[in-house]
């Protein structure tokens, strides 16, 4: 396969002897250099062959990841693509994060540098392979010149370049300097998948070791000389502002350096973390709640219910929906589903380190999921040219969507806090878990109403769905895809179908949460369909398959998961299986959950079988890990989690004691199989999440006779 190299457009900026210093990777890179950015030019002998590949004299190959690593595996996955096309040895591969540079490192699906929508592999698959193939071609060209042999006679295996006739052999490093002077090829030939050596294998992850011995550095771990620690006191009602501030007691605490009002609250600056926390506690602040959300969750839900039946925006309509429901011989079925606010609660709360250099430029160290937006935010708030802002993306302790925000509000807060400090010392802004849980930007509340019609011969021939909720994308009069995705594109053959959407507004800002719209649409579709199948006397698997005749990939994962579960034998007494299948982010996942009722009346999920089709499986080990994690993350949320606004709108939850996380004893055994495929690879970070909720709810209904209408399941079913 020949493809014109998309790395070409960026190559010239990296040629002509420009070099980067890249030490080993998983440490906060550039920290030492950051102290003197003006001195950045004189650096080591490592050579940049293109925007993504750096070859050092010692043969190490450093791959620059334009995507943030927070556990979903891009460092390993992207490096695998480069190493494959370079014919490198896995042991010589290093990974570092790429700087913020929209021109070089944009997500090709979004046009901005952003990790999200499970697009890392899909948008990088060709680009990173081309980067590897380009580097290989340039290294071979340099070797051919040096050895005075035709490049076509050279071979590469495990990072060794060989010329069989002359017996010459070398690693990459010896030719890095010469290769960097060559003009990159216009076109490179990529391998056929049958020649893959690394792609499709279980590569050990590049970041595992440092994540077992405490060496991995996250933003919270960075310590710069003379750095201040800052915390912000936020209001308990989202959207309230400071009306009066008395900082006397806070300033009296040893170690507290300063207190400043900032747009989001009151910042306390201190010499150490404990002083910052104590100082924050000692603040005396009165809040103005006139702009805050003052409705409770229940009031919000009631107001959403009241919109059902009013004129909304039609997302899909096919067939004749009114006819399907006016047929006297049909049976109809109705259900309302209510979904709560959800916090993401990544293990590492939000944080950022900002420092100003002598030349006025600013370095930012953060788990930046949206470097393009973060750079812009710093530039606007601190009033400096975006070209003078450098973002150093750090390893991040999870995200689940939390670190990628429109307009970068967190980075704006960090910048405001930094600016208010006078910017003479580096500042680390650190959110506590309470800030995180009460910080808004939740998966919004949604209310869905569904009506189904089953005709006299048992065919489901009517599906009428309404969704009411906040538009994550800020839409008013148009459909927000994130409200309807996964339902409006229902894969089941149902003749008459309609989906209507209502966008609402709310004082608590919304955000995507791992799998976005599919967090609720998959639940409504798969639970309601399961009920319709049951009412029409059909088997949940066979019934689905019959309706999926136009969708071979959904059918294949469903068949596979059914096989997996049935080969495990009949479930033990008291245990029941529930199934769900759902496509999200172009990947297909089917799950079967084995569930029983525990002595205290709560569900116990014993096992979950997962079949996934995500195209070419670049690293099966990472895919399996993402399915396991997706199941666990989704399960904790559907069983236990909700953020509730109480009377007057205050946020009730504050930490892990009342915003539960799944714990080890609640984790089911997860068995994953991957469908073999030659399709282009698609995402795995999110698609494991949507099916777990409906699979468990379907099992629960079959087990107890009680349909699940409201999440979290444990509260709605047991109260």
């Amino acid at each position: 396969m020949t493809s014109s190299s998309s790395v070409n457009t960026s190559r010239r900026r990296f040629l002509g002897g420009s070099c980067l210093v890249v030490g080993f990777t998983l440490t906060p890179k550039g920290l030492a250099q950051a102290y003197d950015a003006s001195n950045n030019a004189s650096k080591s002998a490592a050579k940049t062959l293109n925007a993504f590949v750096i070859v050092a004299p010692d043969d190490t190959v450093t791959v620059l990841s334009k995507h943030i690593e927070f556990g979903q595996g891009p460092y390993t996955g992207l490096a695998t693509l480069v190493a494959e096309e370079m014919d490198a040895d896995w042991a010589q591969i290093r990974v570092d994060s790429a700087p913020a540079d929209n021109e070089l490192y944009a997500n090709t699906m979004f046009g901005a540098q952003l990790t999200g929508g499970s697009t890392t592999m899909a948008n990088s698959y060709t680009q990173m392979r081309e980067a590897g193939a380009t580097a290989r071609t340039m290294l071979l060209a340099a070797a051919a010149i040096e050895w005075s042999v035709p490049a076509s006679e050279l071979t590469v295996e495990k990072g060794r370049i060989r010329h069989a006739k002359s017996g010459k052999e070398s690693g990459f490093g010896a030719f890095a300097a010469d290769a960097a002077k060559l003009t990159p090829p216009e076109k490179v030939t990529l391998k056929n998948s049958s020649d893959f050596v690394l792609i499709g294998e279980n590569r050990p992850k590049v970041d595992t070791k440092v994540k077992t011995n405490g060496e991995a550095k996250f933003t919270l771990d960075l310590q710069l000389d003379n750095m201040l620690i800052a915390t912000v006191l936020h209001p308990s009602h989202y959207g309230a502002t400071v009306s009066s501030l008395d900082a006397k007691a806070a300033l009296a605490i040893p170690g507290v350096v300063d207190v400043k009002a900032v747009p989001s609250g009151v910042a306390v600056y201190a010499e150490n973390t404990y002083a910052a926390l104590k100082g924050r506690q000692a603040l005396n602040v009165k809040w103005n709640e006139s702009a805050a959300e003052t409705r409770s969750s229940e009031q919000i839900i009631d107001s959403y219910r009241a919109m059902i039946g009013k004129k909304g925006i039609t997302a899909t309509e096919r067939g004749d929906i009114s006819k399907a429901f006016s047929n006297d011989t049909s049976t109809t079925h109705e259900a309302e589903f209510v979904f709560p606010f959800l916090a993401h609660a990544p293990m590492e709360p939000l944080d950022a380190v900002l420092m100003r250099q002598r030349d006025g430029s600013i370095d930012c160290y953060a788990g930046s999921q949206f470097p393009t937006g973060d750079k812009q935010a710093i530039s606007e708030v601190c009033q400096i040219d975006a070209g003078k802002v450098r973002i150093h993306t750090q390893l991040a302790g999870g995200s689940f969507g939390r670190r990628a925000q429109f307009n970068s509000p967190f980075m704006r807060e960090a910048s405001e806090v930094f600016k208010a400090s006078g910017m003479s010392r580096p500042v680390k802004l650190f959110w506590t878990r309470e800030d995180d849980i009460r910080g808004g930007f939740y998966r919004p509340i949604y209310v869905h109403q569904l009506k189904g019609a089953i005709n006299a011969d048992g065919t489901i021939d009517g599906w009428d769905q309404v969704v009411v909720g906040q538009s994550i994308r800020g839409k008013t009069d148009e459909v927000d895809e994130t409200s309807v995705e996964g339902a409006s594109d229902l894969p089941y053959v149902i003749e008459n179908m309609r989906m209507v959407s209502h966008n609402t507004t709310n004082g608590v800002p919304p955000l995507w949460w791992r799998s976005v719209g599919h967090t609720h649409t998959a639940f409504t579709v798969e639970v309601f369909l399961d009920e319709l199948l049951e009412k029409s006397g059909k088997d949940p698997i066979e019934g689905r398959l019959a309706l999926l005749k136009n969708n071979p990939r959904e059918s294949a994962v469903l068949r596979r998961v059914a096989q997996m579960a049935s080969s495990a034998g009949k479930p033990a007494k008291g245990r029941v299986h529930g199934v769900a299948v759902h496509k999200s982010f172009s990947s297909y996942v089917a799950q079967i959950a084995e569930v029983s009722v525990q002595a205290d009346g709560t569900p116990k999920v014993h096992k979950v079988w997962v079949a996934v089709d995500c195209g070419v499986a670049v690293n099966p080990n990472i895919i399996k890990a993402q399915m396991e994690g997706g199941v666990g993350y989704g399960l904790g949320a559907i069983l236990y989690d909700e953020i509730t606004l109480g009377e007057g709108g205050y946020i009730k939850q504050s930490n892990f004691h009342d915003y539960r996380s799944l714990r080890i004893g609640e984790m089911p055994e997860v068995i994953v199989e991957i469908i073999e495929s030659n399709e282009s690879p698609t995402g795995v970070g999110e698609p494991g999440v949507p099916p777990i909720g409906p699979a468990v709810a379907n099992a629960w209904r079959r087990l107890t006779g009680k349909p699940v209408r409201r999440l979290p399941l444990v509260r709605s079913q047991l109260s």
Binding site: K211, Y274, P346, M347, E628, V631, N655, F656, V670
Partner: protein
């Protein structure tokens, strides 16, 4: 002034005696392998060993540590539990337990303490011992597997030692 042992070395702290051990370790002693996750003894990210038992350093004032022995993830391999630590870390690497990795120092500290006390834990023992360690990435299945694998290598090396002695 508060004196205590940190990873085998005598050390001291002169600040506010109510300062949680977590912030002394991280801010003063610059050992950042021990993490903050909740600050209220709910998540286990801040787990260290105090005189060999697990302790949530986020809720332990430094004054309570006076004269005692603290081991953090950084000191694990040179501590009395180095055999367990080696086995756990190797098992973690072999099956790629971590995802984001942020909780994993705490997971490793708890797993090592479990294996020190119980060299062949059942699933139930693991559930009990690890219940206080949240992993938001839900790597629990591999944590469980990693503990079983580590127990296996510890038992194997223990039995080969016994054979070596009797031979």
């Amino acid at each position: 002034m508060i004196k205590f042992q940190l990873n085998g070395k005598q050390t001291e702290f002169n600040g506010d005696p109510s300062t949680p051990l977590l912030w002394v370790i991280r801010d003063e002693k610059k050992l950042t392998g021990t993490k903050y996750g909740c600050g209220i003894a709910q998540c286990g990210a801040c787990t260290v060993h105090l005189n060999g038992s697990t302790l949530r350093s986020c809720v332990t004032p430094i004054s309570e540590v006076s004269g005692k022995e603290v081991t953090t993830i950084e000191g694990l391999l040179s501590s009395k539990v180095s055999a367990e630590a080696t086995a756990v870390q190797r098992a973690w690497v072999a099956i790629d337990v971590p995802q984001c990795g942020y909780c994993q120092s705490g997971q490793v500290m708890s797993a090592v303490a479990l294996l020190k006390a119980n060299s062949n834990p059942t699933d139930q023992d693991i559930d009990n011992a690890m219940a206080g360690n949240i992993c938001r990435c839900a790597t629990y299945q591999r944590i469980r597997q990693g503990i079983h694998d580590a127990a296996g290598t510890l038992t194997a090396s223990a039995s080969s030692n016994v054979k070596g002695e009797t031979a």
